[in-house]
């Protein structure tokens, strides 16, 4: 293992430990409103990054996640704000849960509708098509007067709390842990490596592509619902191209080989602009520069698949201070 790789591993280990400490400390012992808001946005960004990662892990690049997020946001906000829907079972208030679920399901339906034209195309064509669909969704909401049109939808009740957002995140992550080891996860992986070979081996491409799009869109819809009930105001510009690209950046900088990548990327890239606040004026330019440098130095993202094993970390930490032996 090269020195730079060891340094990178050390950097990742330190940031992960620090991040976990930070999160737990703020969840249980401190309630700083500002940090809490960043933590909530971080969780929402992680969920939507994972929603991008799922179809991506099957070799399907979708830049429509921002559009799906918009569908989920508008749907759930309509339920709680426009229709004033309330649903309680005994002492439990399930309004928000049902609103989120409805947003996710509608987004999944739109995702399936997107998947069908996307079945035949790959690569750059798929990228452009999903981008176009996302923009069509955005322009639709821009013109849809029922949900506020160009002036947006405001007055959404503040139902998203740091607790339900992290519960949702944990559920999503558990889902990914399961799916990676499942039959479906292996099918996705083979599709990513080589679609034609996967088909020859008996993977039903149509079914798996539609399912990947649907689940991805569902998760994006959920994250949209969470976003809407925290931001309390949404309009069509929230779900434009730049949101899709942001999601892409979270995933690719974090690492696209394993679901830990988008988690890492989503979390730290939400915090990074806040930490860069010290250098105020230059932070956007630094962010852009960082993107270029990362693509030159480590295009596969920070977290790689091998980092998911305990053995990797044991050997890395054990060899950390040993001088490299030249062969």
């Amino acid at each position: 293992m090269s020195t730079s790789m060891r340094m990178l591993s050390l950097f990742i280990a330190v940031t992960v430990v620090f991040g976990a400490y930070y999160l737990i400390a703020n969840l249980f012992f401190r309630t700083d409103a500002y940090i809490e808001s960043i933590l909530i946005f971080a969780a929402i960004n992680i969920i939507v990054s994972l929603s991008f990662y799922l179809p991506f892990s099957a070799g399907l690049l979708s830049l429509a996640q921002a559009g799906f997020m918009g569908v989920g946001a508008y749907m759930s906000a309509s339920i709680t704000t426009l229709w004033k829907f309330h649903f309680t079972v005994g002492p439990l208030d399930l309004t928000f849960f049902i609103a989120l679920l409805a947003g996710g399901i509608l987004a999944a339906i739109v995702g399936v509708l997107t998947a069908f034209p996307a079945l035949r195309i790959r690569g750059v064509y798929l990228l452009l098509m999903t981008l176009a669909i996302s923009e069509i969704i955005r322009v639709f909401f821009l013109n849809f007067e029922y949900t506020g049109g160009a002036s947006g939808l405001g007055g959404i009740p503040p139902l998203t709390t740091i607790w339900n957002v992290y519960v949702a995140l944990v559920l999503v992550v558990l889902f990914f842990v399961r799916v990676t080891k499942s039959r479906m996860g292996r099918a996705f992986e083979s599709m990513k490596e080589d679609q034609d070979a996967a088909e020859v081996m008996g993977v039903d491409l149509t079914r798996h592509k539609v399912v990947a799009f649907a689940i991805g869109a569902f998760l994006a819809g959920i994250s949209g619902g969470l976003y809407a009930h925290y931001a309390l105001y949404i309009d069509s510009t929230n779900f434009g191209v730049f949101r899709s690209i942001e999601i892409l950046i979270f995933t690719l900088l974090g690492g696209y080989e394993i679901y830990a990548g988008p988690i890492y990327g989503g979390f730290y890239l939400t915090f990074l602009p806040e930490w860069l606040r010290i250098i105020q004026d230059w932070r956007i330019i630094i962010f852009g520069g960082l993107l270029i440098v990362m693509m030159i130095l480590r295009p596969a993202g920070l977290i790689s698949k091998e980092m998911m094993s305990l053995r990797y970390w044991r050997s890395t930490l054990a060899n950390l201070w040993k001088p490299r032996v030249e062969a």
Binding site: G123, Y125, L128, M129, V139, L142, I249, I285, P299
Partner: protein
């Protein structure tokens, strides 16, 4: 009325064409969606504007100056954000050009301000009535300049050695390089030419709409994707015609249908093309993954 709209659409479309040609040139040679190309276009508009404001040059000099500066900018982008990146992972160069987009947009906001600005009245606007349609001198300038540039490009690509090298590299970079084409040189040339065209388009659009802002690039980039698909990825003639078609369609849709859906048209066209004819109206070789 209809004829007038057609002419307006043609003006708008010819500017679209110039940008889309740049996209398609770069895509042809590198199979890369150069996301920052829209930002090069935006910078071109500002360069032209500031040449006029600071040096009081006339429009033609500003146009030429802006083309030179954007060509240099484009080559710089290639050197910094495209060449150092390995092509193993096809999204890496795309993402690094997104980085360039972010940087250029923020830099433009810092240098030129986030407000919408317009060109000072440098050329006298004269209306030429032809039958029952009116053509302004600005529109004539835009149409003439873009047609001239497209003609020059067409001759360059099809009639010169360098143009042949460029087409060869677009066909297959590996083979071209084996046959003695300097691929690096061709890539630099392509970026230079494409960016110069975008710079020219920037000045022309600035003149036509009197609204230059740091955020005009992204929208144009997305429209250019649609045009590129319409004409077929990598097909230069296709991009020219595609630009004109989209310009006309947009103007007509504003005139006869709902204007707020104008931007959706480009994307609707994109989806339709991808479903029914992914090689575009004028054909192109299909790119794999």
């Amino acid at each position: 009325m209809f004829l007038q709209q057609m002419i307006n659409g043609l003006m708008l479309g010819s500017a679209y064409s110039l940008i889309a040609i740049g996209y398609t040139l770069i895509f042809g040679v590198l199979s890369l969606l150069h996301f920052a190309h829209g930002e090069v276009f935006m910078m071109g508009a500002f360069f032209g504007l500031y040449l006029v404001l600071l040096f009081k040059v006339n429009v033609y000099v500003a146009l030429f100056g802006s083309m030179v500066i954007t060509a240099i900018l484009g080559i710089l982008v290639e050197r910094v954000a495209v060449r150092p990146i390995s092509k193993e992972f096809h999204l890496a160069p795309l993402l690094s050009t997104v980085g360039v987009t972010i940087i250029l947009q923020d830099a433009a906001t810092k240098i030129f301000g986030g407000e919408q600005v317009g060109f000072p009245e440098t050329i006298k606007i004269v209306n030429y009535p032809i039958g029952n349609v009116t053509v302004t001198s600005v529109q004539m300038l835009i149409l003439a300049t873009s047609l001239f540039l497209m003609l020059v490009l067409h001759l360059f690509v099809n009639r010169t050695r360098l143009g042949t090298a460029m087409r060869a590299a677009a066909e297959s970079g590996r083979t071209a390089s084996l046959l003695g084409v300097n691929i690096n040189g061709v890539v630099i040339l392509t970026f230079g030419v494409a960016s110069a065209l975008a710079g020219a388009a920037g000045v022309l659009v600035g003149l036509a709409f009197n609204a230059i802002s740091p955020f005009m690039g992204v929208e144009m980039a997305l429209k250019s994707f649609a045009i590129m698909l319409l004409g077929g990825l990598g097909n230069i003639t296709g991009a020219m015609v595609g630009g004109l078609i989209l310009g006309i369609v947009e103007v007509l849709s504003v005139a006869y249908l709902a204007s707020s859906y104008r931007d959706a048209f480009a994307f609707g066209v994109m989806v339709m093309i991808l479903i029914f004819r992914p090689s575009g109206l004028f054909g192109a070789k299909l790119h794999g993954d």
